[in-house]
């Protein structure tokens, strides 16, 4: 990270947090630092590393479908690959993703705080994350990679000879990391807001993180306990989920999805928070419907915690339960739609600047809308039974998780990286990468929607000849997408070393983080920031 320069901007000269030398130096200055900004960057680099590994596995799986029959791997390897891809992408990238990296770095500055409430616990949660990651990767070498899929459904997860226990132990540790981050954020937002910053003076990114943190704290323990129960079932055969011993495999699905559906909102809510920051900055307008967006975050967290049964329509649960969960699922579409309508209304008559962060944000709205609407389709009982466990479901959640959260993450990278590092990337290359990714993404996943609707099942290493053309198009799409992803990362990495120095506020942002130097000083603010009533009204030189 090449930017350690003394920041000379309007106001007094201050050292940036990158320049600050504490008790430790070098790598130890990072892994022993309790500074929220350094921990945010630790997370950012860690989870981007795992993202690249997950992308690699995904591309290899897609390559397997370039021809019918075995192309590059056998069925068992394919089973392990989709499990590993799911575990890495969900537990190691997308769940910690935006909160752990950008939430850690940006949120305390946005509320006028010097750090999070529990800096040591913050660092400890990163260590738990890394421990969980190492444990997950150890399964590559010990006992064989789990072949259950990331859902670990019983009774198969109890009977398979692959190393399910170790993978679940990894998920357990990663869950602990997530809970601690959530706890830290709730406390920080409640207790460390700057004087005069009320709840409705907070930026919407903070609201989104707050709603997310409650889900992390309340829902994550359930997956932790469920993981332990499966491990105990495998080791001691106690018969909680195994029907041969009087257990109930549907109970496993309930317990798994009680966490894992709200986890989808842990993934998407922070991305929605990012979009709520980027859109008004680049449309040069006040956000439309601030309170509705803030409340809708809470509504998504609340209602979204009650819809898990829609993953279980064909599990054997009762028709009554199916109807109840279907109704609840339709309800959760309302707050999501409120956000989309408010973003689009913000754009209306705005003076739109199509810089890279804005392009990623606009792609988010487009791709998330497709993901959201196919989600509503899947909430309908009849459609769900027809397309259950097909590529339609896979394409739907990739539209939400990658098209939504992934592009939200990339929007955040392009929006806040100049703030974090003080360096600016090449805007033209960023736009080319964006175009490649949008084209590649739709070339990849749209054929999968159609293939699924036609009956292509998920998790099969081979396909019937009638699905072949769709598979070839999707595979080519994956190459374009990956080219875009690598071009984007190369452009950003290059900016760290060769990027031009950027100013305090390159985008004309109106939240507090744009009022402090880029990169920020150790304790974020030189003077106590002056809090404006309008959360998007900080246009002066408040941080100095």
């Amino acid at each position: 990270m090449g930017s350690g320069a003394i920041v000379e901007e309007q106001g007094p000269t201050v050292s940036s947090f990158l320049e600050y030398r504490g008790r430790f130096s070098g790598i130890f200055g990072w892994i022993f630092s309790t500074d929220h900004k350094r921990i945010g960057i630790l997370y950012l680099f860690s989870l981007m590393t795992f993202f690249i590994v997950g992308v690699g596995i995904g591309v290899l799986m897609r390559l397997e479908h370039l021809t019918t029959g075995q192309t590059i791997m056998d069925p068992q390897t394919y089973n392990s690959f989709f499990t590993l891809h799911g575990v890495i992408m969900i537990f190691l990238f997308i769940i910690p993703g935006i909160p752990a990296a950008f939430g850690n770095f940006i949120m305390p500055i946005q509320i006028g705080a010097e750090d999070v409430a529990f800096p040591r616990i913050n660092l400890f949660s990163w260590y738990l994350y890394i421990s969980g990651a190492i444990l997950a990767l150890v399964t590559l070498f010990i006992g064989g990679v789990a072949d259950t899929g990331w859902t670990f459904y019983a009774p198969y997860s109890i009977r398979t000879n692959t190393n399910v226990s170790l993978t679940l132990m990894a998920a357990f540790l990663l869950g602990f990391s997530s809970i601690l981050t959530g706890l830290n954020f709730i406390t920080t937002i409640h207790r460390l807001r700057a004087p005069r910053m009320g709840w409705f003076n907070m930026p919407l990114f903070v609201w989104a993180l707050y709603a997310t943190a409650w889900i992390q704290v309340l829902a994550t323990p359930i997956i932790g306990i469920t993981a332990v129960l499966v491990i105990l079932e495998r080791l001691l055969g106690i018969g909680i989920f195994d029907p041969m011993k009087g257990g109930d495999p549907i109970l496993f699905q309930h317990l798994f999805w009680i966490y894992s559906h709200p986890a989808v909102y842990i993934m998407i809510l922070p991305a929605m928070g990012v979009i709520s920051e980027v859109i008004p900055t680049f449309a040069r307008r006040t956000i439309f419907g601030y309170k509705f967006i803030a409340y809708s975050s809470i509504a998504i967290a609340g209602v979204g915690s009650l819809v898990w049964g829609h993953h279980m329509y064909v599990s054997g649960q009762s028709y009554t339960a199916n109807v109840v969960f279907s109704l609840l699922t339709f309800l959760v579409a309302i707050p999501s739609a409120i956000k989309v309508f408010n973003w689009v209304s913000t754009l209306y008559k705005g003076s739109i600047d199509l810089s890279a962060p804005m392009l990623y944000a606009l792609a988010f709205i487009f791709l998330f809308s497709i993901g959201g609407l196919t989600g509503v389709m899947l909430g309908a009982l009849a459609v769900n039974v027809h397309v259950h466990d097909t590529y339609f479901v896979v394409a739907h959640f990739h539209y939400v998780m990658f098209g939504g959260t992934g592009f939200g993450f990339f929007a955040a990278l392009h929006y806040w990286l100049p703030k974090m590092t003080g360096k600016m990337y090449d805007e033209k290359i960023a736009k080319i990468a964006w175009l490649l990714m949008v084209v590649g993404f739709n070339g990849f996943y749209f054929p999968m929607l159609l293939l699924g609707y036609q009956g292509m099942p998920r998790r099969y290493y081979d396909h019937l000849p009638q699905f072949h053309d769709g598979h070839v198009i999707a595979t080519v799409g994956s190459w374009i997408l990956v080219a875009g992803v690598f071009l984007m990362f190369w452009n950003l990495a290059r900016a760290l070393f060769k990027g031009k120095r950027t100013s305090r506020n390159p985008w004309g942002g109106t939240t507090l983080e744009w009022q402090v130097p880029s990169p920020p000083p150790l304790l974020n603010f030189v003077h106590e920031p002056e809090i404006r009533k309008d959360p998007y009204g900080h246009t002066g030189n408040d941080g100095h």
Binding site: L218, G309, Q317, T320, A321
Partner: protein, 97 residues
């Protein structure tokens, strides 16, 4: 005895503790007795109801929640309510299968 914040610790008499202990024993006896009847679908509900009453006693008297500030009571109430919602939504479907 006072806390740093000047907050007083409430002293609970041994008599109260013994009464609560006896009540817990009685509830345990009730659980065991009811388990002998064939109440079908209601049996789990009854067992949970008795367990909830026992939890209420333990929280209030042994863990002193009764004498704490209302913020702690609210936090426990919200958490237990969420747990109750999860349990109801998980198990109601068993009656309709």
């Amino acid at each position: 005895m006072t806390h740093d914040h000047g907050e007083e610790h409430h002293l609970v008499s041994y008599g109260t503790y013994i009464m609560v202990w006896l009540a817990l024993l009685a509830f345990t006896g009730l659980t065991v007795t009811v388990a002998g009847f064939n109440l079908r679908q209601v049996s789990v509900f009854v067992a949970l109801l008795v367990a909830t009453c026992k939890t209420f006693l333990v929280l209030n008297y042994f863990m002193h929640l009764k004498y704490e500030q209302s913020i702690f009571k609210i936090m426990i109430f919200v958490t237990v309510s969420i747990l109750a919602v999860f349990i109801v939504l998980t198990f109601f479907d068993v009656s309709f299968r």
